[in-house]
């Protein structure tokens, strides 16, 4: 029993050549499987039918594109990536991926894993009655055949055969494989049946390579059964088809088969001729394999690089996502606070505006009636009714009312100035004004008061002295200063109002009294504070708004307010004001 050994080797060789053949070739799917891929691949749907072999941005799509291009390593990386990711894949997608994975594993000779993968695919496929499911039976059958599990292979291939469409391109291979299973199982009749059918089908599809394979395996079938006369023509046909198919491994097998056959027939010359042809091909295959290995190595590097790239890209994408998320949340927090602050600010502004408005309305609306009361009282007093004069009590109360109205009027005016000044809304229109004229306008209202209080008043005014000031604010200051001077001067006291030239740029207005005076340190420490007031000669206290306002208004006019005072010795207030750049003639 010398023969079966080489035969088996020959047979295996033929078979194995089938497996390695498909390695670098473009993968062909059955039409059904292809349509199922197209149905469930988001990439194909998105890009249209032309995209079936073109890479896109979707991993699933790229997996089957790599697969069909024969770049099974890349395909495998992507398939693993998809199944590891938490992304949800529909049942059909899983089925497709399992199938592809099984085929790749098979080609990597990881048969056990391939069987697991394909069995799962079959389970899903039959359960959901996918039209392409029977094709997987054939693939699984082939895997078993490669594993030399001939009975299992035959079973699955028979199962396939039972539901297979006749006339599909993959039919001859599967029939042939079924025949091979039976050949190994030594069920010669079934083997012959299927191998001859495979031959016919290959003939029908004009598949030279398939015909070479069929011929050689049929030859082996007969030869194993010692039907040499039947075997010989098929060996020769096989050689002829192998030559035409231009496929080195199968040609090599054809030569080897013939060499063994002639050797057994003791026709050594012929055997040696075929053996030599076999050796020749062996060398070229060896060369080709070396190139193959180099290419494979390169490919592995490329795959590793691509994997690295994919990983880096994923990491980068993740990083971008994280940064984006952080920025987004920061923006969210930021805008929330901005919104909140803006709202609060709006509210505060609104409240402040309301306050200012209330203040200005109040003071404005009070200002006029108080002024009218003051005017009417003044009128009555100046008309000097004899009846009134004879009744000192009435006269006094009228007089006090007049002073009160006057002071309230000043307070109103001060408040209005103060509110507007704080708002930055106070009228300010600096112009050239003669100091004497300003003083005359202000003094007009105070002469009667001083007469009433028996205060001696003296003016020492420089003629034609001009200041560059805002009239309204300086009048307000003068009113306050005069009011203070009168307030703190005892009856019979003295007030001197004088003006003069400070230097070429400035002039001064001075109000000096010999009244009760006050402690200036309290003034300096907190001149803007409200309620910083001293009781006057009648024991009344003011608001203390006056002097603070005066300082501010004089400052606004580019002037200075200097106060010197000594308790019991009177007060001297000097206001230094700028003169116009060019003095008028």
């Amino acid at each position: 029993m010398l023969l079966p050994q080489p035969y088996l080797g020959v047979i295996l060789g033929i078979y194995l050549s089938l497996g390695s053949l498909s390695h670098a070739q473009e993968k062909k799917y059955s039409a059904k499987f292809k349509s199922e891929i197209q149905q469930s691949c988001p990439g194909c749907q998105h890009l249209g039918n032309d995209s079936f072999l073109h890479l896109g941005s979707n991993d699933f799509h790229n997996a089957h594109v790599y697969f069909s291009r024969g770049e099974i390593d890349s395909a495998y990386v992507l398939i693993s990536k998809i199944s590891e990711s938490k992304r949800k894949i529909d049942v059909k997608g899983q089925y497709i991926l399992l199938t592809l994975k099984g085929i790749v594993l098979d080609e990597k000779r990881l048969y056990d894993d391939a069987v697991i993968s394909l069995s799962k695919a079959i389970e899903i496929g039959t359960e959901n009655q996918y039209p392409s499911a029977p094709n997987i039976y054939a693939i699984l059958g082939q895997v078993y055949l490669e594993q030399r599990e001939f009975q299992l292979g035959a079973n699955w291939l028979e199962k396939w055969k039972a539901s297979a469409d006749l006339g599909s391109p993959e039919q001859p291979v599967n029939i042939h494989n079924l025949g091979l299973c039976y050949l190994h199982l030594k069920e010669y009749q079934r083997a012959e049946e299927n191998l001859l059918l495979g031959y016919r089908l290959n003939d029908q599809f004009r598949d030279t390579l398939g015909l070479a394979r069929s011929s050689l395996d049929i030859a082996n079938l007969y030869y194993t059964q010692y039907k040499d006369s039947l075997a010989m023509p098929y060996f020769k046909k096989g050689l002829q088809f192998a030559k035409n198919a231009n496929d080195l491994p199968i040609l090599q097998n054809a030569y080897l088969n013939l060499a063994v056959v002639y050797e057994n027939a003791k026709e050594y010359a012929k055997a040696l001729g075929y053996r030599k042809e076999y050796e020749k091909i062996h060398d070229s295959i060896w060369n080709r394999d070396r190139i193959w290995q180099l290419a494979k190595k390169e490919k592995e590097i490329a795959v590793a690089a691509r994997e690295e790239m994919l990983k880096a890209e994923t990491e980068r994408k993740n990083l971008y996502r994280i940064i984006g998320l952080i920025l987004l949340s920061l923006l969210g927090i930021g805008s929330y606070f901005t919104y909140k602050i803006a709202r609060q600010k709006k509210l505060i502004t609104h409240l402040n505006q309301t306050k200012d408005k209330l203040f200005s309305i109040l003071t404005h609306d009070l200002k006029t009636p108080i002024h009218l009361i003051k005017n009417k009282l003044f009128k009555v007093l100046s008309e000097g009714d004899n009846e009134l004069r004879t009744s000192p009590k009435k006269w006094q109360s009228l007089n006090e009312s007049y002073h009160l109205s006057k002071r309230t009027s000043l307070l109103m005016d001060n408040t209005l100035h103060w509110v507007l000044q704080n708002k930055g809304q106070l009228l300010f229109d600096p112009k050239q004004h003669e100091l004497k004229a300003i003083i005359a306008q202000v003094l007009f209202d105070y002469h009667p008061v001083m007469t009433e209080k028996k205060v001696q008043f003296r003016e020492e005014l420089e003629p034609a002295l001009y200041a560059y000031v805002d009239l309204n604010s300086i009048k307000t200051v003068l009113r306050n200063l005069l009011d203070n001077a009168i307030k703190f001067t005892n009856p019979g006291g003295q007030i001197i109002l004088s003006t003069g030239m400070e230097d070429t740029c400035n002039c001064w207005v001075r109000i000096a009294d010999n009244g009760q005076g006050f402690d200036t340190t309290t003034l300096q420490s907190n001149h803007r504070a409200l309620n910083n007031s001293t009781p006057d000669t009648t024991g009344n206290t003011g608001t203390g708004l006056g002097l603070g306002l005066c300082k501010e208004l004089v400052g606004k006019n580019n002037g200075q307010l200097n106060i010197t005072s000594k308790i019991g010795n009177g007060t001297i207030v000097t206001m230094v004001l700028p003169r116009p750049k060019q003095e008028m003639k």
């Binding site: 006029t368 809304q425 009228l427 050239q432 003669e434 005359a440 034609a464 309204n472």
Partner: protein
Amino acid sequence: MISNKIKIFLLEDSDEDISQLEEVLPSRHYEIIGIARSFDEATSLFERLEFDIAIIDIFLNGRPEGIRFAETIYRSNTKKPFIFLTSSIDKEVFSKAKMTDPSNYLIKPFNTPELLFAIELALERFLQKEGAFAQQQPVFYEGSFFARDGQSLVKVSYEDIKYATVEGPYCSLITERGDFILHTSLNRFMDELKNGPFIRSHRNFIVNLRKINKVYPNDNLILLSSGEKVLLSRRHKEEFFQRYKILK
């Protein structure tokens, strides 16, 4: 006879303010020739009345109608000085008012000197002679001059001038409305009057030819219709008679 009072037009809706103005102004020789209480009233009066200066309240019934009326004056062919009257000291109000180029502002409440000073300053600013009245200088304007007379201001038409003479370093003006001492030289005064019927009769005299009753060349004397006498000097005699004949 034309009044020498400065004519004032009022646009004011507050009775209190009107009564204050009516009380003060006439007593200081100002004449209120019209009071409008609304914008419409003001525009119709504006076309009919001849006034020297207007006092305009910015707010009428709470609306800044005064500014609207000021715009009417501002755009008219005969520009007139006007004063804005307001109780507001809010910058915003003034920035709007400023666009109409007012001559002055007067803030309520105001007292008499404030009112008079505001009017004087408005006229000075309008005629670009700021500080003139305080220095007793006349301000000439369209056949008249404004000058301070005691505490008040008068407008004197050239026609009312009888003659002008020298009074120390100043110039004394004798008019139908009384005498004025002006702090200006007779020569400068003559420059202003040269387009009118005025002639220099003497180094110290300028005389209105229309006021002459009779001339006594031998006595070097001119007798005016009012009975006053003006000197005629030999140096000015020839020139005097040339113009006197033409104009008489």
